[in-house]
Symmetry: C2
C-alpha cells in the first residue's frame, strides 16, 4: 500500500483547506466557501493534485480504475468521519430547551422555507426534463439551511442577539432536524425502496422513530451511566465514551437504512445532556479542525466547473440557485409571523445558506446514479452561491436603517461559548 | 462506497481498544498490550469482526480480493495517521537538552542494547534458516526499546526520579532516534536498494542528513515564523500549522525514501521548540486518543496466533523473545557504566519493552514480502511478551531491597506534565 502518495494528497487537502479558510475569512466569507473552492482547484478537473492516483498507487493497484477506487475509498471514509464529527458537534450545541424556547414561530419559518424551496426546485428540475428521481434529489439537497453557516454569518455581523437572529437560528436548528429526516428518506430511496408515497411516509416514520427513541431512551441511559465513567482508569474516559457513542450510533443509523449523520447528530444531542459537555466541546475541537475541512475539500474535488461552459447547464445552475434563494426568501419570509417587513426579509436572507446537507444528499444521489457529475457541480455551486450572497445582503439589510437595533433586554438562549465553536468556520 | 460497514468495523476497533485498554490498566499492564490482544481477537484469524469485507463491500468491489484491498487500504491509512500522530507526540516530548543532559552514558546504554539485541536475533534467524533479508527485518524490528512504554512502566512504579530511570529514559530516547535510522534503512531496503553495506551506509547517512537538516534548519524557520501565526484569522492557527507541518514532513520523508514517521517525529521535535508547546500537547491529545489505538488494534488484527500451534514457529517465537530480552539485558547492562550490579539489571529490564518500531518494521517487511504472515505474528507476540514481562520484573528488582531509594536531590529533567501524556497508555 503506497501510503506516501495518499499522505501527500492529504497534506495538500489539509494545507489547502487552512490557507483557503484564512483567505475566505479575510474576504469576510465563511471558511467553508474557501474549502470548497480550494477543493475544486486541487481536484482532478483542475490542477489534478488531489484525487488522481500517482504512479505508486497505479503500480500497486494494477489498474487505473482500481487505483482510483482505492483513493476514492480512503478519502470517502475520512470525509465521512469529518461530516460525522460535524453533525456530532451540531448535536452537542443543540438542546431540547433551545428548540422549545424559539417555539412554534421558528417551526413555521422552517417548514415554510423547506416546502417552498423544495417545490420550486423540484418543479424547475421537472420542467428542465431531469426526471422525478433526479429532481427529488436535487430539491432535497437544497432543502435545508446550514445552521452552522447561518450562525457564523450572524455572529460575524455581531447580530446574534436580535429578534430576527433568534428566529433564524431557531428555524435553522429545526431545519437541520427536518433536513436529517429528508436525508433519511433519500437514503432509503437510494437503498432501492423507490419513491412511492408509502415508502416516503414509512421512511419518515422510521427516521422519526429512531430519532425519538435515541433522544428519549438513550438520554436516560446516558444520564444514568455517564457518572460512572470517572471510575475508569483510562485517561479521558468520558471523551472516549462520547466518541464511541458517536461512531456506534452513526454505524447503527446506517445499518437501519438511515444516513450515518443522523446517528452522529443524535449522539451529540444525547451527550450534550451530560455534565461533561463543556470539556467535550474543547476536546472534540482538534478532531473537528482536522477532519471537517477534509469533507468540504473532497466535495470540492468532485466538482467539475468546466461543465458550466455548457449553456444549458449554466441555465440550470442559475435557475436552481435563484429558486433555492427565492424559496427561502418567500417561504421563511411568509412564515415569519408578527415581525416587520424588513425583519421578514432578514429572516429569508438569513435562511439562505446551504451547506453540509446539500453535499451529503448530492453524494448519496451520486452513489445511486440519480445525480450526475454535472448535477453534483450544480449543487456545489448553488451551495457556494447561497453562502456567499447571504453575508453582504444581511449586512446591507441590518445596517441601512433602524432595524439594526439590538434587543438587549432579552438574552439569547444560545450559550456564547457554543457560538465560539461554530459549525463551519 | 458502502461506508456503513467500514464505520461499524471502525466502531468495533475503537470500542475494543478502549475496553481492552481499561482491562489492561486494571491488570497493571500498559494499555497497548490490551489493544494488540483485542486486535488479535477481533481480526480475521479469530472472531473475524474486523478486517473481513461484509456483503455490501463485496457487492461494491466486485471481488473478494478487491474488497479486501479496499478495507485494508482504509485501515492502513487510518493506522498510518495514528502512528504519525504517535511519533509526532514522541517528538513533542523530546528536547535536545534532554538528550544532552543524560549524555554519553545513555548513548553507551542505547548502542549496547541495540547492537547486542540485533546480533543475537539476526544470528538466531540465520541459524533458523530464515535468509539474510528476513533476518535483517526480524532483528531490526526488535532492535528499539519503546520509549513510551518504558516511561509508562517506570511512571506506574513511581520510579521516574531514580538514577536508573534517568539512564533508561535517556537511552530509550536515543534508541528511538537510532531506531528511526534503522527504519529508514529497512525502508530503503524495502524500496529495492538491496542490503549491501554501501546501501546501508548511504541510507543511514541520508536519514541522518534529513534529521539534522530538519532539526537544525527547520527549527530556526519555525522559531522565526511561529510568532506570526497569531495574526491569522483562522481559529487555532498554531494547531493547524503544527498539524500541517507534521503531515507535510511525514509525506516528505516518505518521498525521499524514509519512513513517514521519521518526518512526523522531527515535526514534533521542531514544534516543541515553540512557546505554544503546552497548548499543542493538550490539543493533540484527542487525535492521539482516536487514532493511535487504531494502529495497534489493526496491527493485532493482522496477527494469526493459530500459526503458533506449529512447533517450529513456537520455538522461533520463544527463541526470538528470549534473545530480544537477553540482548537488552546484556547490551544495556554492560553499557550502564558506573552503577551497581542491581542497577545494571534494572536498566537492562527497563529497556526490554518493544512497541511501535517493531510493528512498523514488521509492516514494511510484510509489504515487500520479507516478513511472512507467521513472522508478523512472531514479532507481535515478542513485542507483547517483552512489554508484559518488564513491569513485574522491574517491580521485583526495585522493591526487594535498598535500591528502591529515590534520588530526591536531583530533579528529573522530564517535565511531569509530559509524563502525563505518555506515549502508550
Amino acid at each position: 500500500m503506497p501510503t506516501t502518495e495518499i499522505l501527500w494528497q492529504l497534506f495538500l487537502v489539509f494545507l489547502g483547506a487552512k490557507l483557503a479558510g484564512e483567505l475566505a475569512l479575510r474576504l469576510r466569507l465563511p471558511a467553508v466557501v474557501g474549502e470548497l473552492v480550494v477543493g475544486i482547484a486541487l481536484g482532478p478537473h483542475a490542477l489534478a493534485l488531489v484525487g488522481v492516483p500517482g504512479p505508486d498507487l497505479l503500480g500497486y493497484a494494477g489498474s487505473a480504475k482500481h487505483a482510483g477506487e482505492l483513493l476514492h475509498g480512503v478519502f470517502d471514509i475520512l470525509g465521512q468521519l469529518g461530516v460525522i464529527i460535524l453533525l456530532f458537534v451540531v448535536g452537542l450545541e443543540m438542546r431540547v430547551e433551545d428548540i422549545a424556547a424559539v417555539g412554534p414561530r421558528a417551526l413555521v419559518v422552517a417548514v415554510g422555507g423547506l416546502s417552498v424551496s423544495f417545490v420550486l426546485v423540484f418543479a424547475f428540475g421537472q420542467a428542465f426534463g431531469l426526471g422525478s428521481l433526479t429532481s427529488v434529489f436535487l430539491a432535497t439537497a437544497l432543502v435545508a439551511t446550514s445552521a452552522g453557516i447561518a450562525a457564523r454569518v450572524l455572529g460575524d455581523l455581531g447580530q446574534l442577539q436580535t429578534n430576527a437572529a433568534r428566529l433564524i437560528l431557531g428555524a435553522a436548528v429545526i431545519d437541520d432536524i427536518l433536513g436529517l429526516v429528508a436525508v433519511g428518506v433519500v437514503g432509503g430511496i437510494a437503498s432501492g425502496r423507490g419513491i412511492s408515497a408509502l415508502a416516503i411516509v414509512t421512511l419518515a416514520a422510521e427516521t422519526s422513530a429512531f430519532v425519538l427513541f435515541v433522544a428519549l431512551v438513550g438520554r436516560r441511559i446516558i444520564r444514568a451511566y455517564s457518572v460512572h465513567l470517572d471510575r475508569l482508569r483510562l485517561p479521558n474516559a468520558t471523551f472516549a465514551a462520547a466518541l464511541a457513542l458517536c461512531l456506534g450510533l452513526a454505524a447503527l443509523a446506517g445499518m437501519v437504512g438511515l444516513a450515518a449523520i443522523v446517528g452522529a447528530f443524535l449522539a451529540g444531542m444525547v451527550v450534550a445532556e451530560t455534565r461533561e459537555h463543556v470539556d467535550l466541546d474543547r476536546q472534540i475541537r482538534p478532531l473537528y479542525d482536522l477532519l471537517v475541512p477534509i469533507f468540504f475539500v473532497i466535495s470540492g474535488t468532485r466538482t467539475d466547473l468546466t461543465m458550466l461552459g455548457n449553456p444549458s447547464l449554466l441555465m440550470l445552475v442559475g435557475g436552481v440557485t435563484a429558486l433555492a434563494m427565492l424559496g427561502k426568501l418567500i417561504g421563511c419570509g411568509l412564515g415569519a409571523i408578527g415581525v416587520t417587513v424588513r425583519d421578514r426579509l432578514v429572516v429569508g436572507v438569513g435562511m439562505m445558506p446551504r451547506g453540509e446537507v446539500a453535499l451529503i444528499v448530492a453524494g448519496i444521489g451520486q452513489s445511486v446514479g440519480a445525480i450526475s457529475e454535472s448535477l453534483f457541480a450544480v449543487i456545489v455551486v448553488a451551495s457556494i452561491a447561497t453562502t456567499i450572497v447571504a453575508p453582504p445582503a444581511l449586512k446591507w439589510l441590518l445596517t441601512s436603517g433602524s432595524f439594526g437595533a439590538k434587543l438587549t433586554d432579552e438574552t439569547h438562549r444560545r450559550d456564547p461559548r457554543n457560538d465560539d465553536l461554530t459549525l463551519v468556520d
